[in-house]
């Protein structure tokens, strides 16, 4: 009976996992595969990608040709349910409406959370990324090194399926033997980018994304994932056989009914449920961790969103994986024995050092790509190639004026025409209409390329969240209030992105759409808009200035763990999801170890 209702809770669990996304999914997977009895609580509704995903639907079948609206912020077919930049009845507060000081918070309310729609870009943090402070004196070091994380990156890659190459580049780690799937072949524009960017010293290599370019290795990987655990090996081998390889159509952002990409609901939860060790309650909005008389966490209080009633569950260990900010909110809304400022917060750091990714974009049009013959360039739906950060040495020598790097993602190809594919062409057509417009559309289709810089933000004192003193959501739970500010390390980096994009477009013989923004403060996208929220309960080596240790274990409450992005003490340019999963696996192994030793 894996999906249960609050009335069906009949036991004290080994572990309660709050949240079902990358962190919650990985935590529940590792714990249940190794025999722990786990209860997962998810605030959103139950969701079945195999029946609910719009796989081949076209925009003409959608309202407004699939346009983004207040109901579906990323367009009609985006997988996100009951959320986006706002969740009805569950507000949050921004301290200012000024884009420079604002943090926008993306929340779905569905099983699997943001993993259902994410971009699937899966990059490892490198050795420098774990020890940034030691390298340049800024931000914080992690209390673990790349070598500590590497075996878990290997495991996650083997389990979920990541395509890419091992290129041996600086701070861009190779994977273990056999961990990566072959990358998809580059499309025409990818090759032109690679050829021309390399001429000006910018590397272009195969992308790394969580898409099965062939079936997973169900014969050899299970033993590497679960050594000494034949039952777990059998379950995951069977599950791997049921995941199809990509058939090179329909956008990953819709989710994937054939389970060819990673989302928690198609990769982590099915085998975890097959163990019989995992129960899941959806529509369960956890708002508080409670403590027993011994000072240890003994359970959580949650609202059953269907009935609006207060409910409760108990366990030996509590794992928070609710998304960085929601995890912070739960801790700050919980009471500790000693202080009035939330749970696990003797350092005063809960909510501090909130980070997002630095984003800036520019587009261009490339005459060499005009009027190509018809080609099916759907591929794996994005990022067959990308550019990892390449100026580590120049940066360390202080030549750039900003301290951390960025990578570049490219949007190109003859994609399925959407609402805006042929909009705003006057800069190219001079305002054509009629038969001339149709000729122009045929000529320019597929000749556009978009550049998205994704850069590291250094944690700062201005960017944090706290409980708003007045506002509550419709359940009566106090809500978060966000504060935000960039430093020049980020704004200068955004300006550098713009110049790089212009240089690449021109090296491709192309035309820049508009002008590159030389003022980084104008180029940089609003905080939170990249949806890479991390920090808020950072891990560290010292209880005085961090919230958890290297296993996400709260310094103040030894049976309380955080396995989501909240524990990140830095936010490398590498998209956080792969690292969240690797650290969640590592933390879960540690929990299992402590439980076996009766220390929890």
């Amino acid at each position: 009976m894996p999906f249960i209702t609050p009335d069906q809770i009949s036991q004290r669990y080994d572990v309660i996992v709050v949240g079902s996304g990358a962190a919650g999914g990985q935590s529940a997977y590792t714990l249940s595969m190794e025999g722990a009895k786990v209860l997962m609580l998810e605030a959103g509704r139950k969701y079945d990608p195999q029946t609910e995903t719009p796989m081949f639907q076209t925009p003409d079948q959608a309202p407004l040709a699939g346009a983004s609206t207040a109901d579906k912020n990323f367009g009609f077919y985006d997988a996100t349910i009951d959320g986006g930049w706002r969740v009805p009845g569950e507000p949050y507060v921004q301290i200012t409406d000024d884009p420079a000081g604002r943090f926008d918070w993306w929340r779905p309310r569905m099983l699997g959370g943001r993993t259902n729609h994410w971009g699937r870009i899966a990059l490892r943090n490198g050795p420098y990324d774990f020890k940034g402070n030691s390298r340049d004196g800024l931000g914080f070091d992690w209390p673990l090194s790349y070598a500590d994380a590497a075996p878990y990156y290997d495991k996650v890659e083997l389990l979920v399926g990541i395509y890419g190459n091992n290129d041996g580049l600086e701070n861009t780690p190779d994977s273990g033997p056999g961990c990566l799937l072959p990358p998809p072949k580059p499309i025409v524009c990818d090759l032109l980018i690679a050829q021309r960017a390399r001429r000006i010293g910018v590397p272009v290599i195969a992308g790394h994304r969580a898409v099965l370019t062939r079936q997973l290795d169900f014969k050899n990987s299970p033993a590497r994932l679960h050594p000494g655990n034949p039952r777990a090996q059998k379950i995951i081998a069977e599950d791997m056989r049921q995941r199809a390889a990509c058939f090179w159509a329909t956008s990953c952002g819709r989710g994937c009914a054939i389970r060819a990409n990673y989302q928690s609901t198609t990769v982590h939860l099915p085998p975890a449920l097959a163990t019989g060790n995992l129960d899941i309650i959806t529509d369960a909005m956890v708002h508080e961790v409670t403590l027993g008389k011994d000072g240890l966490a003994d359970g959580v209080n949650f609202i059953d969103r269907k009935s609006g009633k207060q409910r409760r569950a108990s366990a030996r260990v509590i794992v928070l994986a609710a998304s960085s900010c929601e995890t912070v909110r739960i801790l700050l809304n919980s009471k500790s024995a000693s202080s009035g400022r939330g749970l696990a917060n003797s350092s005063g750091k809960v909510g501090r050092y909130l980070m997002d990714t630095v984003g800036a974009s520019l587009g261009g049009q490339i005459p060499l790509l005009e009027s190509l013959p018809p080609l099916n360039e759907d591929g794996a739906s994005e990022s067959h190639v990308y550019t990892p950060w390449w100026l580590y040495q120049e940066q360390l020598a202080g030549k750039l004026g900003f301290a951390r790097g960025y990578h570049i993602e490219y949007a190109d190809g003859r994609r399925m025409p959407g609402l805006s594919t042929f909009a705003s062409l006057e800069w190219l057509t001079g305002g054509s209409y009629g038969k001339k417009f149709k000729q122009d559309a045929r000529r320019f289709y597929g000749s556009f390329v978009g550049f998205d810089g994704r850069g590291e933000m250094i944690p700062n004192e201005k960017s944090y969240c706290e409980i708003d003193p007045k506002v509550k959501d419709k359940w009566g739970i106090p809500v978060l209030r966000f504060h935000w500010g960039w430093s020049e390390h980020e704004t200068r980096q955004a300006a550098h992105m713009q110049q790089t994009f212009k240089n690449i477009i021109e090296a491709m013989g192309g035309r820049v759409n508009g002008a590159p923004q030389s003022d980084g403060a104008k180029a940089i996208q609003t905080g939170g808009s990249l949806i890479h929220e991390v920090g808020g309960t950072i891990m560290g080596a010292d209880p005085r200035n961090s919230v958890t240790n290297q296993w996400g274990q709260a310094w103040d409450v030894k049976n309380l763990f955080v396995t989501d992005g909240a524990v990140f003490p830095s936010n490398a340019d590498k998209n956080p999801t792969l690292t969240i999963m690797a650290l969640a696996w590592r933390a879960s192994d540690h929990i299992l170890d402590l439980m076996r030793r009766r220390e929890l």
Partner: protein
Amino acid sequence: MDRRTTIKWMLAASASMPLISQRVPAEVVTSKVLVLKGYGTDPVLTRAYRRGELWPLEMTDAQRRTAAALCDVILPADDLSPSASSVGVVDFLAEWISAPYEQQKYDRRLILDGLAWIDAESKRRFGKLFDALQVTEQHALCDDICSEKQAKPRFAKAANFFARYRDLTAGGYYTTPAGRKDVQYIGNVPLKSFEGPPTSLLQKLGLANVAMQTPRQGKLT
């Protein structure tokens, strides 16, 4: 393209008009419970929707006639593909301007005012409504407003309307099967393998020798 990019480009695509942010300023978030009348935050994604089934199409017959005529001036039939009005673009536009969302409400005013202006200008110049004009007369009028950059100041507002109308007409048209066929989009079909572009094309473009795997020693060039 990721979804952030899609939405950003979608908004950027309407650069000819003031952007209406989908995001909510802080004050609104804290003080109001939003009442939505659209399709809601959890619509069924796997079925096809008919224009008009979610909200009524609010466009008069007269407006439809002008809208259809203008659509077809922008995207007429030619040897390769049909006209805009013949593949349902007027219904798409009617759905768009009738939708209960902010962007669409803004566009409703812009478009209905613009269609009224087109008819008034047609009458003033030629004594007839736009849909009754000769093609040469329609073009004479549209030539004055088809470029925001080059339009005379007295046509600035009409040019702004025309730019938005052309964007939406193209959006409605190229998202139909006929529009996809026109630009020779051949994807959205399952494939056994993804082979990448043919070598002959890459040779023609000078891209046949671009390697993707970094050698153990040295750099990719």
